[in-house]
């Protein structure tokens, strides 16, 4: 579906650019008209598409769940309640199995992460050009924008901002509860007194910086790996969908072949999006559990 005026690399680049709102270098606020302009905006810019879809999908499932929760009763569950209860029970089982501390916030967080990340990832299954095309038509039709400068990415988890935002939030909770449960001393001890320890005071003094270096890196690796795993998987999946979509511009034989490829990849991708949502949830539960473990070493 690449339009004739675009080369393949332009098409891909177009698909990988977010709709960015921010301050232009000349001082006025507005949408970026190119990837270069978007980068020039620096930190004080926001990806409108990422925010829109993540908030819309989150609000959608939360409202849906709220409706079910309001009517939830212990009688025979029907329809939607059945489905929601199945997910809740599933998440509850994982949290009960993986989280040994006592915090009523962890299970709802796991549920939120699982459904939210799943829905965000699910956007990847919608053919790559549909929603951007709609937005382009809206943008050029209603607001008189240049169609080539309307960028739109529909999968928030292919935006590292979104995955890092979530993993940093999890990381912040993890640090908060580490301090709260273990105290400053306990947390510091956890970071400095292992894996290497010695009864010799002098040797122990030497070990502390080494331990700290190792533990600090492993601590930082947690949010980084959490977000990069999701981002990498979804970005790669989206990239393959974009490449397949390029085939539709290469004549109808290639187009039909591309159609089958897209179908196959989408079916496989169903597994990936579910798995990634699941992994994100389980790792969050595990990290929270680590924050709650006292005096294990």
């Amino acid at each position: 579906m690449a339009s004739e005026s675009l080369t393949a690399s332009d098409y891909i680049k177009h698909h990988l650019t977010n709709l960015t709102f921010g301050q232009h270098p000349d001082g006025h606020w507005g949408l970026a008209h190119s990837a270069e302009e978007a980068s020039a905006m620096g930190f004080w810019a926001i990806h409108v598409d990422t925010m829109f879809w993540s908030i819309a999908l989150g609000a959608l499932f939360l409202l849906l769940l709220r409706r079910v929760a309001r009517k939830a009763s212990a009688d025979t569950p029907v329809g939607m309640q059945n489905f929601v209860e199945w997910i809740v029970d599933f998440v509850n089982g994982i949290v009960k199995g993986g989280f040994t501390g006592h915090n009523p916030m962890v299970a709802p967080m796991a549920l939120t992460i699982f459904i939210w990340v799943f829905l965000i990832n699910f956007m990847d299954l919608i053919p790559v050009d549909w929603l951007p095309q709609v937005v382009t038509m809206l943008g050029s039709g209603l607001f008189g924008m240049d169609p080539h400068h309307v960028y739109f990415r529909v999968v928030p988890s292919t935006d590292p901002n979104a995955t890092f935002g979530m993993s940093l939030a999890v990381f912040a909770l993890m640090i908060y509860y580490s301090f709260k449960i273990k105290g400053v001393g306990g947390f510091a001890a956890e970071l400095t007194l292992h894996p290497f320890s010695s009864n010799n005071k002098l040797l122990q003094l030497v070990f502390i910086p080494i331990n700290f270096l190792l533990e600090f890196v492993s601590l930082l690796a947690k949010p980084l790996s959490l977000s990069l795993r999701l981002y990498g998987n979804m970005f790669a999946g989206e990239m393959i969908f974009i490449l397949i979509a390029l085939m539709y511009g290469g004549g109808w034989i290639l187009g039909i072949f591309g159609g089958f490829l897209q179908l196959g990849w989408a079916i496989f991708h169903v597994l990936i999006i579910t798995l990634q949502a699941f992994i994100f949830m389980v790792l969050t539960v595990v990290y929270m559990d680590l924050a709650y473990q006292v005096g294990e070493h």
Binding site: L16, N18, T20, G22, A38, S39, M41, G42, F43, W44, A45, I46, H47, T50, M51, S54, I55, G58, L62, L65, R66, V68, A69, R70, A72, S73, A74, D75, P77, Q81, V84, E85, V88, D89, N92, P104, M105, A107, P108, M109, L111, T112, I113, W116, P156, D159, P160, N161, A162, F164, G165, M166, L168, A169, A172
Partner: protein, 156 residues
């Protein structure tokens, strides 16, 4: 691939969503699940209890049936005994009645015989008196010879 404000916006969104879920979604759902779990457990316990009760009731019913059978048997035996008694009594009564009737009949017969004898005797006396009168050809003074006549009559 620019890191920008979206990062912070996403974090805030995350916290808001988690808070909303924690506050409004999780508690009613998990409450319903727990309540149903309890309900099912209670139901199963009640079923178990009911089954036990039924077994007890069946046992009791069997006991009552056995007792009733025993009682019925006893009653039949008593009734048979009573019937035999009644028959015996009736036989006894009939025999006594027969004896009584027989005795009465005998007494009556004796009476009849005595009366006939008396009559006969009276007649014999009068015949004898008449005969003796005829023989003597004269009138015998009955009052004078009454003792003699009576003696005669007793002898006949």
């Amino acid at each position: 691939m620019n890191i920008n404000l979206t990062l912070i916006g996403q974090s805030i969104t995350f916290f808001v969503f988690v808070w909303f879920c924690y506050k409004f979604i999780w508690p009613p759902l998990i409450h319903a699940l727990e309540e149903r779990k309890k309900k099912i457990a209670d139901g199963l316990a009640a079923a178990e209890h009911g089954k036990h009760e039924q077994e007890l009731a069946e046992e009791r019913a069997k006991e009552i049936l056995r007792e009733a059978k025993n009682q019925a048997g006893e009653i039949i035996i008593r009734a048979e005994k009573r019937a035999a008694e009644v028959v015996d009594e009736a036989k006894e009564d009939a025999r006594a009645e027969g004896d009584r009737l027989l005795t009465a009949a005998r007494a009556e017969i004796d009476q009849e015989v005595n009366r006939a004898k008396e009559e006969l005797r009276g007649k014999v006396v009068s015949i004898a008196v008449a005969g003796a009168g005829k023989v003597l050809e004269r009138e015998v003074d009955e009052s004078a010879h009454a003792e003699l006549l009576n003696k005669l009559a007793a002898e006949i």
